[in-house]
């Protein structure tokens, strides 16, 4: 009986460990785990800001377990959790494989463009805060990935009915794309391995009004925390328990 108790205690302990696997963020950054957010640019008091806008209307977001709406965060105030994955099927479109850097049979971790926001994040590109009243126009916003750290490869793409448009592909060295001002679109954000990624982006756009044109640019670093889906974590835990139990008996 004592052995069984020890086993159950070990189980609890290992489960506790698995839950915190991969959450290696800084103490000051909050974790955005589900609901709706935008990778957003805006102009406030003459400053061009490039960060996050979370939640809008009835679409809330959950940050550190709290449901929030219509909130602005600077890029370094948040970490985005990526907790959905697929096993890349054999026969996947080669364009998708080469763009994401994924290989058939391996796992690819995604924020999906068609996620429903329940239990996972939906992340869009948002430029609608670049307001264009009469007489004001914004150029397209240009985004450039200057550098990244992380265990795998990152890509950002849109599936338009079987045509894949890569804005960013580390595997194919595509590191810049443009997006119109005043727009909003969901995207697929893909990572080839679990772990923490820090992506250094620059966003630039030019605002033109009656007085002339003013270029704006901002650099921000965005952190993504890629974790296995909960079910796969549990599998790892059980197999470790099996190993522990065998060791005790022998």
């Amino acid at each position: 009986m004592k052995k069984a108790l020890d086993t159950s205690l070990s189980l609890t302990h290992v489960l506790g460990l698995s839950v915190t696997l991969g959450f290696s963020g800084s103490a000051t950054a909050a974790l955005f785990t589900s609901g709706h957010g935008d990778f957003a640019v805006g102009l406030h008091d003459g400053e061009f800001e490039f960060g996050y806008h979370l939640g809008e209307g009835d679409d809330t977001a959950t940050v550190d377990g709290v449901i929030i709406n219509d909130a602005e965060y600077e890029a370094d105030e948040l970490q985005v959790r990526v907790n959905q994955s697929v096993v890349v099927p054999v026969g996947t479109d080669p364009a998708l494989l080469s763009g994401t850097g994924a290989t058939e049979g391996s796992a690819l971790y995604l924020i999906s463009q068609d996620s429903d926001g329940v239990g996972s994040v939906i992340l869009g590109l948002g430029t609608e805060e670049l307001e264009q009243p009469a007489g004001v126009t914004w150029s397209d916003v240009s985004y450039t990935l200057n550098g990244s750290t992380g265990p795998g490869q990152f890509s950002l793409y849109f599936n338009d009915g079987g045509t894949f448009e890569f804005g960013i592909s580390e595997a194919e060295a595509i590191n810049t794309f443009i997006f119109p001002a005043g727009g909003h679109e969901e995207r697929n954000w893909a990572f080839t391995e679990t772990g923490t990624y820090v992506l250094d982006f620059t966003a630039s756009a030019t605002r033109t009004d009656g007085a002339g044109s003013v270029p704006y640019t901002a650099n921000s670093s965005f952190t993504f925390v890629v974790v296995p889906e909960p079910s796969s974590t549990l599998l790892v835990v059980f197999s470790a328990i099996g190993f522990l139990a065998r060791r005790r008996r022998s």
């Binding site: 209307g57 329940v118 009243p133 126009t137 727009g183 909003h184």
Partner: protein
């Protein structure tokens, strides 16, 4: 009062068409709205006390500068229609292979935002653990529960002419496409959008395959945790506009009370257009050795059969025949366009000929029913044909005379002709030097309506060279106090806000102007100037359809109504973008 205002470099060009709105008007029946673009949701809600609500919602514009302004407006599903704008039109490919072959035209509201289209989502507000998880008859208690959206039926002229609906999600490419509705194999239990969980927000593609009206009759349903099945039906209406470009003139006249209309029919697809809602496109070179240019067959009759779709005129008006003891004539009173226009019947009798000027003899007389023949345009270009219909009594006196009925034609010039084609045509029509109209920001006739605006308003009879009351009032009409009407030409304006684009804007003081429904940003909907508007409708100021008839074409009559009773004066103008 006309104000001329000119801005450079891709900025907006002001027109000078100001319509003072003197007093608000209470309308007899609730106006209906349409949405041509913008981010809205199909919102499905369930509350244990209040029950179901399903309809359309949108979020008022939020901005970082104004945090906390975050109002969600709910609209009853039957208070508005979704009209598929030009940028939804595509050719089918692999994405739709679950219900269509490749290479056929479709109109698709995209899953991902495309400027100038609707961005239509699905949003669910239901309590956690109020419902079981599952669909159909198969449920479990695992998870937080979900509802589903099933298709019950589809009615309207779109499905009547064989139009299909498919809804699907593209996914990430690695996950299989998720199919919702597919009416190509009939409507059954498989036609559902499933597993809509509490707090869910997602997007699907919606594709239609024929022009016309689609009443999509749906039902949101789920099984409550106590085992009770609960559901709520609702209908959303989608309109796929007809192109409105005709290669033959199959024409008639109608008279409803004092209102004459010149009708053009496309029998092959069962549509009748009122005269400003279509465009005749002649592409066949003239087969008459004595006439150069282009020809188009015509058939005139006074039978007025009802067609499935009526655009710009009600079925009652369109089927209302003019009956006069002395017969009816249709006389060409004005031609604006390059070269000449000739109409001959099958026995080579000339009915209309502009080569020797226009008089009462340039007419069709309809005392004897159908007239068939050919219309010739001696030069390529855009032609405005203005007709007057007259009803005669037995003594051959005119007893009813119509307003000018404008028929627009293109001889080898398509409905979506470019600014350059338009300028060239009017330069030749008026014998101007080449290039006289080449500047879109210019204003040849000094009427303070820029050339670009004249180009966009050609649909309403605008003329860049002659400033006359009919050309101005053809563009803007003040039919009633409190309303400002104009025509949109969606062959030219794709609603993407890039040139050429037409914007109505609004001012209370003639100094600060606000664009109405500019389509920018996620919403494409105007910021409400205050609280919810009259009749419970959420749009305080919005461009709305002037709906006569059940269907639409790409030539649309629009109006703006300012219903506010606290506004002593409001001014509207039309603006355009040149680049």
């Amino acid at each position: 009062m006309q104000v001329h205002c000119n801005k450079n470099l891709g900025a907006l060009l002001a027109s000078a068409l100001l319509s003072p709105i003197l007093a608000p008007l209470a309308l007899a029946s609730p106006p209906s709205f349409d949405l041509l673009r913008g981010h809205t949701e199909i919102q499905m809600e369930y509350d244990e006390d209040a029950g179901w609500w399903a309809g359309v919602s949108y979020t008022l514009s939020t901005s970082f500068d104004n945090p906390g302004v975050n109002d969600v407006v709910r609209i009853e599903a039957n208070a508005l229609e979704f009209v598929l704008p030009p940028l939804t039109r595509q050719i089918s490919a692999s994405a739709t292979d679950f219900f269509l072959p490749a290479g056929v035209p479709i109109w698709r509201i995209p899953q991902g935002f495309v400027e100038g289209t609707q961005f239509l989502g699905l949003r669910v507000l239901i309590p956690n653990n109020a419902f079981l998880t599952g669909r159909g008859d198969s449920y479990t208690s695992i998870g937080n529960g979900n509802i589903n959206l099933r298709l019950l039926s589809m009615t309207g002229s779109g499905p009547d002419r064989g139009g299909l609906l498919g809804t699907w999600q593209d996914g990430s490419g690695f996950t299989p496409r998720k199919i919702g509705f597919n009416t190509s194999d009939g409507i059954d239990a498989d036609d559902e959008i499933t597993i809509l969980r509490p707090g869910a927000h997602t997007h699907y593609n919606w594709a239609f395959t024929q022009p016309g009206v689609y009443e999509v009759n749906m039902e949101v349903y789920g099984r409550l945790v106590d085992g009770t099945d609960t559901s709520h039906p609702f209908t959303m209406t989608f309109q796929v506009p007809h192109e409105g470009a005709l290669s033959e003139l199959e024409a008639s006249l109608s008279l409803d009370g004092d209102d004459w209309a010149l009708l053009c029919r496309d029998s092959s697809v069962s549509v009748t257009y009122a005269e400003q809602h279509c465009y005749l496109h002649a592409t066949t070179p003239s087969s008459d050795p004595t006439i150069t240019g282009f020809e188009m067959p015509f058939t005139f009759d006074l039978n007025n059969p009802a067609t499935r779709d009526m655009v710009g005129i009600s079925a009652v008006s369109a089927t209302s025949l003019p009956t006069f003891d002395g017969g009816v004539s249709l006389t060409l009173v004005k031609h604006v366009g390059p070269g000449e226009v000739i109409a001959m019947d099958l026995s080579s009798t000339t009915l209309v000929d502009t080569r020797d000027g226009l008089d009462a003899g340039d007419s069709w007389f309809f005392s004897d029913g159908q007239r068939t023949g050919k219309l010739y345009f001696t030069e390529q270009g855009i032609h405005h044909l203005s007709f007057v219909a007259t009803g005669f009594d037995a003594g051959n006196s005119p007893v009813s005379v119509s307003r000018q009925l404008l028929m627009r034609c293109g001889a080898n010039v398509s409905a979506g002709h470019s600014y350059v084609e338009w300028a060239d045509s009017y330069e030749r029509a008026y014998g101007l030097s080449a290039g006289a109209l080449s500047d879109p920001a210019g204003n040849f006739d000094g009427d303070a309506i820029s050339n670009q605006l004249e180009y966009l308003l050609d649909v309403a009879g605008a003329d860049p060279v002659t400033f006359d009351e009919s050309s101005v009032s053809g563009s803007i009409s003040r039919e009633r106090i409190g309303r400002f009407s104009f025509m949109r030409d969606l062959h030219k304006d794709s609603l993407s806000d890039e040139a050429p684009a037409l914007f109505p804007s609004f001012s209370q003081d003639l100094e600060s102007w606000e664009i109405i429904g500019a389509g920018r940003g996620r919403n494409g909907l105007p910021i409400a100037l205050g609280e919810v508007g009259f009749d419970g409708l959420p749009f305080r100021l919005h461009e709305r359809p002037v709906i006569t008839g059940n269907a639409r074409s790409l030539f649309m009559k629009r109006d703006i109504l300012n219903p506010a009773s606290d506004q002593d004066s409001s001014f509207f103008r039309l603006e355009t973008v040149t680049e």
